[in-house]
Symmetry: C2
Subunit: 431 residues, 2 copies
């Protein structure tokens, strides 16, 4: 054994939680997956790396500074930076064997070689669910994505409201104003409505050369938000066919959402929802915490025309939703007042009773109770202290008296009381 030690360090900005937090994180993952399963989404687990030609298809092969790339022998590969490119590659590879609509969810880590700073990690979890159609895809699927937010966040005890718009109303209106060529700039400006307010947007639009009437229309537009009552107001605002198609689609989705049992607490329409990504072509949505919209969107997504145009000539329209896992996890930690129990019962021998204790640990485990032995060669007192430090609620103690009586002493650490009971009685308490 060499004397000189290497300092144990982790890569900065890479994901690693202390185990007691990882327990909470895994609980969150389980609750999310449970809803995807109930909705019959299939799990997908793609490699952490993709061939560079696949990952860089979008950028025409240009290597982005943010991407981790390996060149090793004849292999030129990069760590994935999102879960969308792997999905596109997967669907294109398997387009002849998959059943469409293909509904998949994927929760996995992605990699960005940025300089780490608060909230910007180099390795982090993404959670995506997408529904991919073969040529066509009903708007029922857009409604299902909104329902996913409701069901998932309900399962997590965090009510959210999803705010819905459509790229079609936005594009239709801008086209109607004769500004189609400025679509991108105007969108970016309107997207800041929440941040810079009406005056800021007005000024931004002026700088883009729009006149007063055009600006007024856009401002009225982004201020439209609420339930189905806004559709009439919208139709009064603009008669461009793309715009009207967008409104008609939102009406259709509204009907599906009502049928799914969602109401105004679960969703509303909000024309200031833009979504930055250029690939959205229809419905767009963002989910916000019902009691704290100001905390920002906790997820978002929308409809796109063509998932895998780089890889296949088959037209694959889709709609997808994603959840911001780091933000969600922060919120869950802030709102989890209860202690997370990973051990329901610690079993501690007193005197020469270790084997009796092991027998009892097995009994608890076989009956589904998370239990463990404190079997090290340490004093009884130090083990009780350890159980307390670890936040264990129940400690089972077997001493020689208990062995004689064929009973076990159960100590409730939260109230510091104890009872001597049969193993069946203890099981009933612990379950």
């Amino acid at each position: 054994m060499e004397e000189k030690k290497i300092v144990a360090r982790k890569l900065q900005g890479f994901w690693e939680l202390p185990p007691e937090k990882q327990v909470i994180f895994e609980g969150m993952l389980d609750k999310i997956k449970e809803v995807f399963k109930r909705h019959c989404f299939l799990p997908l687990d793609t490699p952490a790396m993709e061939l560079s030609e696949i990952l860089l298809a979008k950028s025409g092969g240009d290597i982005d500074k943010e991407i981790y790339r390996f060149v090793k022998g004849s292999t030129d590969a990069c760590l994935r930076y999102d879960l969308t490119v792997p999905l596109a590659r997967f669907v294109a590879m398997n387009e002849n064997t998959l059943s469409f609509p293909f509904k998949r969810y994927q929760i996995g880590k992605v990699y960005r070689g940025e300089r780490p700073q608060k909230g910007r990690l180099r390795e982090f979890y993404q959670c995506d669910a997408d529904i991919i159609g073969d040529g066509e895809l009903s708007l029922v699927n857009d409604a299902e994505c909104v329902k996913l937010y409701k069901d998932i966040f309900q399962n997590l005890n965090l009510p959210v409201q999803t705010e819905i718009s459509s790229r079609k109303v936005l594009f239709g209106l801008i086209e109607d104003l004769g500004q189609a060529q400025q679509f991108s700039n105007i969108s970016i400006c309107l997207d800041k409505f929440d941040k810079i307010g009406e005056d800021g947007v007005r000024q931004g639009l002026e700088e883009l050369g729009l006149n007063g009437e055009q600006i007024q229309k856009l401002i009225s537009f982004v201020k439209l938000n609420g339930g189905a009552e806004i559709f009439e107001k919208a139709e009064a605002l603009c008669s461009n066919p793309t715009f009207l198609q967008g409104v008609a689609e939102l009406k259709e989705i509204d009907g599906y959402l009502r049928a799914y049992g969602l109401d105004g607490n679960d969703y509303k329409f909000n024309f200031s929802i833009i979504r930055g990504h250029n690939y959205y072509t229809g419905t767009v949505f963002e989910a916000y915490l019902a009691w704290n919209r100001g905390a920002g969107a906790i997820g978002g997504g929308g409809r796109y025309d063509d998932l895998a145009g780089y890889f296949t000539s088959k037209k694959l329209p889709g709609v997808g939703m994603s959840i911001g896992m780091s933000r969600l996890f922060d919120i869950i930690q802030q709102n989890t007042c209860e202690k997370v129990e990973f051990c329901k019962c610690a079993v501690i021998p007193m005197g020469n009773t270790l084997e009796k204790c092991l027998n009892f640990v097995d009994y608890l485990q076989q009956n589904g109770v998370c239990a463990e032995i404190y079997g090290e060669n340490k004093s009884f007192k130090s083990k009780l202290k350890e159980a307390n430090k670890r936040g264990v609620n129940y400690v089972a103690i077997i001493g020689e008296d208990e062995v004689k009586q064929d009973k076990i002493t159960l100590k409730d650490m939260s109230v510091s009381s104890q009872q001597t009971l049969t193993k069946q009685q203890i099981l009933n308490i612990l379950r």
Copy 2:
């Protein structure tokens, strides 16, 4: 959109299952995790990459051909090739805040840059559970690792038998023969006993220069296998103190395993179990399918003196078990006769009843049934065909008649019968 398409390809040798197999894999993961949780093991999720100086500590900084390495700005990092080095790094980093014994499990992908061939992947899952002590660690923990095999494989409906030995008996005997300096060569030779048989081992030991008496002792030793009755035979074979300590430890573990309720079906002692890794210093074990030992070990592990000697001067003895995930998954696929249901009920509208169907889908999902709408603009017949192709067992049909009666028709696809029922009745059938 450019005309030229990029061929959608996956990196060879990297993990990716078709979704219907991924469903089975996830089910397997859930059952494994359930047992780790019942045993109060904490989950750990370390980064996919580690600093090269950490990962290459063992080799003194030499880069192994098999390791994927990135050098990017000031970052020199490698993809992890196992889960043990990350554990050692994690425990050393957090030695002052962790509670010992520290029990963690980790299921994650690891990377080896080998040329892919059948069974040798470049990205694959490992599943490890370890118990790390601070200075000392009771043999109760060795017994717990053996119990983990029993409980996990019982949960997977695959009975296994774990075969247990100790490095101490092996080393003690070799030392007693005056061959301590040949420990490694002799171990490698004995390790082949299963493959090359008694004659092969005899010849191998001759080539190492051992005499007839020495060879006979080693052969008698590796042939010792069975229950507690072998300890007496072992003690008659050799009186070296390390050897006798090894036997005493195995006896102690045997007692703990009996106390845990395990019997001869679950484990036996077998002195031909060597385990290649040099870092094992005490108990070693391998788990085999009860009905097919010839298929090879499905997991293995053992006791080591010092987990993180490269990183800390704190002595951290441990005992760990691992499961060969790819092999296990192959076995599960071969033994899963039942169809895996990811969708319990497909709901198909007949006529203009889509919204009624959505309402019913929500009803099923809220009650925990995996259900989905077949809502695309396709014929009823093609949807029924699709449900059949996807292996869905139950199809719920709502036509206008059903709406009038406030009932739903449930079709059992396996027997091709159908009944018109209330939604409550259907829920009772599906649950």
